[in-house]
């Protein structure tokens, strides 16, 4: 029983990270109907930037926020330069651009920072070396990273719900034509959405890196869990993505420990995806899209 509780709690910790990446995917999907296959490699690249800044002598939290800002800028730049011309391209072309980005970011991570597996520091593992919280069930990093992802998710929610800019971004995603008519700069809203998604991905990368260690292919598996999370929650529903993320985290940890073993955790994500598509393609919170002929 104690083991199960432990699995659930650490599932919630990694679930927060899947939730963040899934949220980044869903934000871009909602606005442009593109699935960003490069989301994982972009986050990995950001994490490498953070590691470089820390090695350059910056304190952790300054490096953290600098990385978030840099990632935001990279996201905006990618949208303005590469994706704007692809807005009306056929699906194959837009997927191709994302795959190209994936290859480039993956190669750049290896090129600039090397292929050896690196340790990434955690701000929550102090020199004291205390065993953990909640009776030793949760490591300090798990608790800290869950707190960081929850604060970030809350911040994103408040931003979209209670600021004019957030409202404008929602409007631009929901109905670009009418938004333009009321004076919203739709193009820039999309670019900001991309920046925000890249920044969220960066935070997720920095939070998972101390657990899985950092190398250029770090996010490959995590992106898969995020896909499963986004589909489980409903591909166009941000709240669904967050709930799906935590659910997939728990499924992954409990299922990996008791059902299929740690070797088949990725296949478990694949099974979740297949099950969603067979049983309820619109996901838990998504609505069925009815097209007009």
């Amino acid at each position: 029983m104690a083991g199960l509780l432990h699995q659930i709690l650490s599932g919630l910790a990694s679930g927060g990270i899947y939730a963040s990446v899934a949220l980044a995917l869903v934000m871009i999907y909602q606005a442009t109907h593109h699935v960003n296959f490069a989301q994982g490699e972009m986050a990995t690249f950001s994490t490498f930037i953070a590691l470089a800044l820390i090695h350059a002598g910056l304190p952790y939290w300054i490096a953290f926020f600098a990385t978030v800002v840099i990632s935001f800028a990279i996201g905006v730049a990618i949208e303005r330069l590469l994706l704007r011309p692809m807005a009306d391209a056929p699906v194959l072309s837009s997927v191709g651009v994302f795959i190209g980005l994936l290859l480039i970011f993956n190669a750049c991570s290896g090129w600039f920072f090397g292929y050896t597996i690196k340790r990434f520091p955690s701000p929550f593992e102090g020199s004291g070396g205390h065993g953990g919280f909640l009776g030793g069930y949760v490591s300090p990093h798990e608790l800290g990273s869950t707190a960081v992802t929850l604060v970030m998710l809350l911040g994103v929610y408040l931003f979209f719900r209670h600021t004019r800019l957030g409202l404008a971004m929602r409007a631009a995603a929901y109905n670009p034509v009418s938004s333009r008519l009321v004076g919203i700069r739709v193009g820039w809203m999309l670019a900001l959405g991309w920046g925000l998604a890249a920044a969220i991905g960066a935070v997720a990368g920095m939070m998972i890196a101390p657990i899985v260690f950092l190398d250029p292919n770090m996010m490959g598996g995590i992106l898969l869990y995020a896909f499963a999370a986004a589909l489980l929650g409903g591909i166009a529903n941000p709240l669904g993505a967050v709930i799906g993320g935590f659910a997939v985290g728990i499924i992954e940890n409990v299922g990996g420990a008791y059902i299929v073993g740690p070797e088949l955790k990725l296949t478990l994500a694949l099974a979740v995806i297949a099950a969603v598509l067979v049983i309820k393609p619109s996901g838990l919170l998504g609505r069925t899209v009815v097209g007009r002929v």
């Binding site: 699935v35 191709g96 598509l277």
Partner: protein, 345 residues
């Protein structure tokens, strides 16, 4: 006369390496033939049917592993493993396509990407160790030329794969030029109109995906026989991505495209590797994006356009009706860049 000349010339170009190339180069060309078959399979579903798949490396892996296990554990002769790989991959493709292709849009891309990420892990599972050999993989023997032919095993395997490829390309050509091919392209260009015309969209897409998986499974089997070694890490998600890049660079929705795509996949990494370890990935990425912006119909499309412009100029200068008719019969199949602007799904 003219129609017979071109295939003859093509056959000569394809057979020439047997006489002139070294065994190592022939081995590389054999792999290129395998990639051409794999990309042709991908082209059937992504190019002609408009359903993006990012996981064909998974079918390549399954074909390769089936062939290797049958040869290694059950002593099946290498040529007899190919039909088995083909059938199993077709069935598996059907099973994957069934849930994913009911829905339009990007679901197939998502599911196949997930499949490609998950497959290497499955191949390493301990429970399958007696068959797959775990992370170490399986080492095979290279088959010798049969009937006491005086050629090396690399020469034989090149001819062997070339013969299979010829049959598969011919079948694909007949498929896409017939009724089913037209239905496939109709679904790509305007799914709704195709459905109104009575095309069973979901079934057609799923069957196309099964055939496509079959092609790629055959390619994997040939690859395993030629390399004489399979291991989980040679079939990671990047194999699928390279096949996709080869498709775009070679030419989407063209039968000749996979040939160029395969040469790209096989030879560009070798060239780029000499620059740096990460260069192949970056080069692939940059070339892929550059093609999408500047030459979305790929090498084959550019070639078609060049030939079409040339023959048009010639036809204009030739008043002979018969020649003009013969030239018109060579007209290229429209590529998605001309006909496929509509968003698919």
């Amino acid at each position: 006369m003219r129609r017979a000349l071109l295939p003859l010339l093509g056959a000569l170009v394809l057979l020439a390496p047997v006489a002139f190339a070294s065994d190592y180069h022939l081995f590389q060309l054999t792999l290129a033939v395998a990639y051409a078959i794999a990309i042709l399979g991908l082209n059937l579903v992504s190019g002609y049917n408009g359903q993006v798949s990012l996981g064909h490396g998974a079918f390549y892996a399954i074909g390769a592993y089936l062939s290797a296990v049958l040869m290694n554990n059950y002593g099946v002769p290498y040529w007899a493993t190919i039909p088995v790989s083909a059938l199993v991959c077709a069935a598996f493709g059907f099973a994957v396509g069934l849930p994913a292709l009911r829905l339009g849009g990007l679901y197939l891309a998502l599911v196949t990407f997930a499949l490609a990420v998950a497959v290497p892990q499955v191949l390493k599972v301990n429970a399958l160790g007696p068959w797959t050999g775990g992370a170490q993989g399986i080492v095979l023997d290279k088959p010798d030329a049969p009937f006491g032919l005086p050629i090396s095993s690399d020469q034989w395997l090149y001819l062997f794969s070339l013969a299979i490829a010829a049959v598969l390309f011919l079948l694909a050509r007949n498929l896409v030029r017939g009724r089913i091919g037209r239905a496939m392209m109709a679904v790509r260009d305007h799914a709704l109109a195709a459905e109104a015309m009575g095309v069973p969209i979901a079934m057609l897409k799923t069957r196309t995906f099964a055939i496509s998986a079959m092609y790629t499974g055959i390619a994997g089997a040939i690859g395993a026989i030629a390399v004489a070694f399979v291991a989980p890490d040679s079939f990671d998600v990047f194999l699928s991505i390279y096949l996709f890049a080869g498709l775009v660079v070679g030419g989407v929705g063209s039968l000749l495209g996979p040939v160029f795509g395969a040469l790209f996949v096989q030879f560009i990494p070798n060239l780029a590797q000499s620059v740096s370890k990460s260069a192949p990935g970056a080069v692939y990425g940059v070339i892929l994006i550059a093609f999408l912006y500047f030459m979305p119909d790929g090498v084959a499309g550019a070639l078609h356009r060049g030939v079409a412009a040339w023959t048009q100029r010639r036809a204009a200068s030739l008043p002979d009706e018969e020649t003009r008719g013969a030239l018109a019969a060579d007209a290229p199949i429209p590529t998605p860049s001309e006909g496929g602007k509509a968003r698919v799904g």
